[in-house]
């Protein structure tokens, strides 16, 4: 299958080329990274990475205006715990995976821990708290700069940056793929969709928004391939071809793109379903993550 350019449609029938054109630099970086991933998987380098557990130091930047946005240490820790379950396939809700796909559930062998040393080597809790005058933040990365009311990133070769704030426009979170600028590297999550207690609100109260966004940070693509037709790809062969994102709590099977009888793998973390409905990564996705940790993110946690 030829690698189709990745872009997202407005839920309509035909390709929208201009969206692809908006991301030429991204596409060029992705082409380089995709070639690296193929070499890494073929040479076995990606598999060698899986044999050792990798623990990624995390800095959580809490950026708040009002008190509820200043989430507690306990809520922060609940998110780290949720990531640690999901990234060892230790989440109990893998029991909800349809029988036909139970064997596809794969342990990424990745863990996360709040940083204990800051970039200057001083002791830290791994949580920074920044008071801001901004009512909310957008996707222009204003939360990642002190000059725009946010908090600056720590070096991405040593830390995963997680920003938690009042993200606006109804968004739950967004990420940056590997290969982007260092100053904005990491993941941003809405404070009511972060962790499993405190300010969280159903149905985004199991910490899965971070699981999904960190998946992008490790170079995973949306499972429907970012197009609203059957021509998109997530560059992973063990996920079914699917037309559109699935939302909410779909009923199995949901068929699209002639992928019957089992249909879309909507219970995968890289679809758009509610937290309780996304429960797994596949072996192909784990191989991509390993290639990222052997390639563009080879220093973090090592």
């Amino acid at each position: 299958m030829s690698p189709a350019p990745k872009r997202r449609q407005c839920g309509t029938q035909q390709a929208h080329e201009r969206l692809c054109e908006m991301y030429p630099a991204f596409r060029a970086r992705q082409n380089g990274i995709e070639q690296g991933i193929r070499r890494s998987i073929q040479s076995g380098q990606a598999q060698r990475v899986t044999r050792q557990l990798i623990t990624i130091p995390v800095v959580v930047h809490v950026v708040y205006k009002r008190d509820p946005e200043n989430i507690s240490d306990a809520q922060v820790k609940s998110q780290i715990d949720a990531l640690n379950r999901d990234y060892r396939a230790n989440n109990s809700d893998t029991s909800t995976v349809p029988d036909v796909w139970k064997g596809f559930v794969t342990d990424p062998n990745i863990q996360f821990a709040l940083a204990t040393k800051d970039p200057k080597g001083k002791a830290t809790t791994g949580i920074t708290r920044t008071k801001t005058t901004r009512d909310s933040f957008g996707t222009g990365d204003s939360v990642k700069r002190a000059t725009t009311g946010g908090s600056a990133a720590w070096p991405r070769d040593r830390y995963l940056n997680l920003w938690v704030c009042n993200l606006g426009d109804g968004l739950l979170g967004y990420a940056q793929f590997p290969g982007g600028p260092a100053a904005t590297d990491g993941v941003v999550i809405l404070y009511t969709a972060f962790g499993t207690m405190g300010a969280v609100q159903s149905p985004f109260d199991l910490g899965r928004t971070a699981t999904h966004e960190v998946g992008h940070w490790l170079n995973l693509i949306h499972i429907w391939g970012d197009r609203n037709d059957c021509g998109g790809t997530d560059y992973v062969t063990d996920t079914p071809n699917a037309q559109l994102p699935n939302y909410g709590k779909p009923k199995f099977p949901h068929i699209s793109c002639n992928n019957g009888p089992n249909g879309d793998m909507f219970m995968d973390y890289m679809d758009y379903v509610d937290d309780a409905a996304m429960v797994m990564f596949t072996a192909g996705q784990v191989a991509r993550m390993n290639a990222t940790l052997a390639g563009p993110r080879k220093k973090v946690g090592r």
């Binding site: 990745k6 872009r7 997202r8 449609q9 407005c10 839920g11 309509t12 029938q13 035909q14 390709a15 929208h16 080329e17 201009r18 969206l19 054109e21 908006m22 991301y23 991204f26 996707t139 426009d169 109804g170 968004l171 739950l172 979170g173 967004y174 990420a175 940056q176 793929f177 009511t192 969709a193 609100q201 985004f204 999904h212 966004e213 992008h216 693509i221 949306h222 970012d226 994102p245 939302y247 909410g248 758009y272 379903v273």
Partner: protein
């Protein structure tokens, strides 16, 4: 079916919770949407221009611009990059727009 052009001229956001098989439902941007992973949107303006947006590969919304026109129940979108597509309108009344996939 003839669609009223004035009824189409709004900032519509995908209310995916209401979709039926083969149809997409849109509500005005001011509608009380529950929280959701990214929603597509289509802003059809009176001057014949439009902006559409949808979640991108890293969940940031991406948008594109163009011009639109209505022919019977067909909404034609001509994007600034030269691409063109046609949406079949099933219903456009007040605060509800239904488009056939």
């Amino acid at each position: 079916m003839t669609v009223d052009r004035a009824a189409l001229q709004r900032h519509w956001v995908h209310s995916h919770e209401e979709d039926a098989e083969g149809e997409m439902v849109f509500r005005p941007a001011s509608y009380g949407f529950p929280p959701s992973r990214g929603r597509a949107a289509l802003d059809l303006r009176a001057d014949g221009s439009y902006t559409e947006s949808a979640p991108g590969p890293t969940d940031r919304p991406e948008s594109a611009e163009g011009t639109w026109k209505l022919d019977g129940d067909e909404l034609e979108l001509n994007a600034a990059d030269g691409s063109r597509r046609v949406l079949e309108i099933a219903a456009a009344e007040g605060d509800r727009l239904v488009v056939r996939r």
